[in-house]
């Protein structure tokens, strides 16, 4: 495929690797010339070395900035290439299902378009099918039904080694009898890359990951964190179409995990590549991902950026999965009285905001039971100032929940209070460290009403989802 790039604002270059140089490139050049010829000031033909290949490069120098042309000629450009950089993959999964011999469905109807260069994360509890999906993308598992497209090629039947992907495994899968250098070089060696090239790439990757001093060691002589870096180093030397990572941080201790999270985020920016990342840790998901796919029992629950997932979960599962400590769930009755809609608990009631009440009534929940979801950080003590200052419709007697505190957890910068409300309700609340409440006390916790979520009791869907 020829590559069509804008450099600065008046340069357009067209280049291609050896395999792509043919009819496609020639027609690209010809067509560019025809389109831009009024503004072409000069044309240059050069050759430059990339990956030990010499490539011809055609450059058009324009009189005016080319960006306007870029916008006007998007269709033309999309036919011939992308804006800049190496070929990255658009990966699409269409109705992908995975069924095992016993009849169990590990993955059901997985539909996802993975965009170029994004760090997309599959997250969910154990057994939700996220690793299985990743392995199907890699080719290590067969796709029972559905399609996997990469770059407009149907990849279902393509062997893993021909998919040009790279994978980091949970247990790192380092070759125990090879040194770190040889581990990283393996993928290139089996593809018969030139030794000089191999050396350059390995050393570069080692430099980026700060493991250059470990190149001669064997995996047995490495710590967990070092092994993890070697595993990541092995995938970046290959410059694949996409990087797959299967729970890479799960075998590290908490401190190292936090460190490596930052490293991976930095790496993503540095590599500017597509990364598909699997984890069961929602903190990792929230901090790393550009988009997150929440899965449960083989099905996608929601695909959205982290903030969206937090603010607007599609159902009770997503709401309860994202955010730590988990959201509190209480079953309450909906009562309409004097024009206000109330949520009735045992000994307390919460007035709904206008739009919330409206939506509830629209969907016909008046007089029914719903599940109320409140995040621990949205519960406030009377003495502490209410976050948004919204008092509901009636002013002072606005929403609070009566809780008997049973446990107080001191976390250093904040305090977690756990308690019971009514017979069966359990609540947790996050308080600043100055909070003095002790177990055994009764507390009124004021609810930040705009932040609450309401879920249908049967379907568990978010009634207020938008």
């Amino acid at each position: 495929m020829p590559q069509f790039s804008f450099h600065g604002s008046n340069f357009i270059t067209i280049s291609a690797n050896k395999r792509g140089f043919c009819k496609a490139v020639t027609s690209c050049i010809a067509e560019s010339f025809l389109r831009f010829w009024p503004s072409i000031q000069a044309v240059s033909i050069a050759a430059y070395g990339k990956d030990q290949e010499t490539l011809p490069v055609f450059t058009f120098i324009l009189r005016e900035p080319a960006f306007g042309f870029y916008l006007d000629n998007l269709e033309f450009i999309s036919r011939f290439g992308r804006e800049k950089g190496t070929e990255m993959a658009d990966i699409s999964l269409v109705n992908v299902c995975k069924t095992y011999k016993g009849g169990q469905n590990a993955v059901k109807d997985f539909n996802l378009d993975i965009r170029d260069r994004e760090l997309i994360i599959f997250v969910g509890p154990s057994g939700c099918g996220k690793s299985t999906t990743l392995r199907m993308i890699a080719g290590l598992e067969d796709i029972s039904s559905g399609e996997l497209w990469m770059d407009d090629c149907l990849m279902n039947m393509v062997e893993p080694k021909n998919r040009n992907l790279s994978m980091v495994f949970q247990n790192y899968a380092l070759y125990p009898h090879m040194t770190v250098y040889e581990n990283m070089a393996f993928g290139l060696r089996v593809r018969r890359t030139a030794p000089g090239e191999i050396d350059a790439r390995v050393r570069e990757a080692a430099r980026i990951l700060e493991i250059s001093h470990l190149l001669d060691r064997r995996p047995a002589a490495l710590s967990g964190g070092q092994k993890q870096r070697v595993a990541i180093g092995s995938v970046i030397v290959r410059k694949p179409k996409a990087y797959l990572m299967d729970k890479p941080l799960s075998n590290l201790d908490a401190k190292l995990r936090a460190q490596m999270r930052v490293e991976i985020a930095k790496l993503h920016k540095q590599l500017n590549a597509t990364i598909i990342y699997v984890t069961h840790d929602q903190v990792e998901a929230m901090t790393l991902g550009t988009r997150i796919v929440v899965m449960n029992q083989g099905m996608i629950q929601q695909v959205a950026p982290p903030a969206e997932l937090y603010r607007n979960p599609v159902n009770k599962f997503v709401a309860g999965f994202i955010g730590s400590p988990t959201m509190n769930f209480l079953d309450v009755d909906v009562l309409e009285e004097d024009g206000t809609v109330w949520l009735l608990g045992q000994g307390w009631r919460l007035p709904l905001e206008g739009y919330q009440a409206r939506k509830l009534k629209e969907k016909g929940f008046a007089g029914k039971r719903v599940t109320l979801g409140i995040r621990p950080e949205d519960l406030h003590q009377e003495e502490c100032s209410r976050k948004n200052g919204s008092d509901g419709l009636n002013g002072n007697d606005s929403g609070w929940v009566g809780v008997y505190i049973s446990v107080r957890e001191m976390l250093g910068s904040e305090v977690l209070l756990h308690g019971n409300t009514g017979d069966t309700g359990r609540l947790s609340a996050r308080m600043p460290a100055s909070c003095r409440v002790k177990p055994g006390e009764f507390l009124r916790l004021y609810v930040d009403m705009p932040q609450i979520k309401l879920f249908d009791i049967q379907s568990e869907e978010n009634i207020l989802f938008d």
Binding site: A138, G139, L140, E159, P160, K161, N162, R163, L165, S166, M167, F169, N171, A173, L174, Y175, P176, H177, M178, F186, G187, V190, R191, R218, A220, S234, R238, L244
Partner: protein, 288 residues
């Protein structure tokens, strides 16, 4: 009380006592006695009569028969080690991934280890029979295997290799199962095909167990006796006169216990040196 604490102190030694006693009488004492005997000429009863110092050894180092035994033994050990390991490795690789009926096959491959060398030798004797033996019939040849100085050693060696392949199969199977499965998956994604995976991952992964197996095989091969006694009795023309058999003949047919003892000592020294050399090689060669 003093006797109590003494008993307590002696306790641990007491548990080792039976084993140590047997070792002392039947292993340590005879070992030194053999060295002692090798310095003497003996009578028919095995009593040391005449002190000759290194005389027995000198005689051996000047005897053609002894060098022949050495050469034959070394060649034998090489063939046995190579053959049995190749067969064991092949069987282990074939039985590595589960498939229907794998139990039957793995039992079959390990079976030779339960068979006595003498029993096997008798079976092979018939198999190698020039006119009615199955080997000649299957290959369409007419060679008198056991009585031909060219082939006799190979026959005994292949028999021994067959006997040892059972235990090698078990060792290699254990070694293969010690290799982490996920590195094969990673190699798949990295771009390796089956052959590359075998030579770059499987064989190096087996190297620790291979070392151990070679040592065990060699030590065992040096001690082969039953096959020789039944198949060839050292012949034809000394072409299968392994050192062990030569020791047996010297001691119990020629009643030259002194000379036999000297040969035993030399054999022991050879095994020692080879084992030490291999341990040294392991430090350099075996990666892990």
């Amino acid at each position: 009380m003093k006797s109590d604490s003494l008993l307590k102190k002696a306790g641990p030694y007491g548990y080792i006592l039976p084993a140590l006693l047997v070792f002392a009488v039947f292993l340590f004492y005879p070992f030194f006695k053999t060295i002692y005997l090798s310095l003497y000429k003996t009578n028919k009863m095995g009593q040391a009569k005449l002190f000759v110092g290194l005389g027995n050894y000198m005689e051996l180092f000047q005897s053609e028969s002894f060098y022949n035994s050495l050469a034959v033994t070394l060649l034998f050990v090489a063939i046995v080690a190579a053959g049995s390991m190749a067969l064991g490795l092949l069987a282990a690789v074939l039985c590595n991934k589960a498939f229907p009926g794998i139990r039957i096959f793995s039992t079959a491959y390990a079976l030779p280890m339960a068979i006595a060398s003498s029993s096997a030798a008798m079976i092979f004797k018939i198999m190698l029979h020039p006119s009615i033996g199955i080997v000649n019939k299957l290959l369409g040849l007419d060679i008198n295997w056991i009585n031909d100085p060219k082939y006799a050693l190979i026959c005994v060696a292949l028999l021994t290799a067959w006997l040892n392949s059972g235990i090698n199969f078990l060792y290699f199977s254990a070694g293969l199962s010690n290799i982490d499965e996920t590195i094969y998956e990673r190699a798949s994604v990295d771009g390796a095909n089956g052959i590359q995976k075998f030579f770059r991952l499987t064989l190096p992964g087996l190297s620790p167990i291979m070392f151990y197996t070679i040592v065990v095989n060699i030590i065992q091969a040096f001690q082969s006796f039953g096959q020789v006694k039944i198949l060839t009795q050292g012949g034809p023309g000394e072409s299968t006169n392994l050192i062990v058999y030569s020791i047996y003949r010297d001691a119990f047919f020629n009643y030259r216990f002194g000379s036999a003892a000297a040969q035993s000592v030399i054999l022991f020294a050879i095994i020692m040196v080879m084992t030490l050399m291999m341990f040294k090689a392991e430090k350099k060669g075996v990666s892990y």
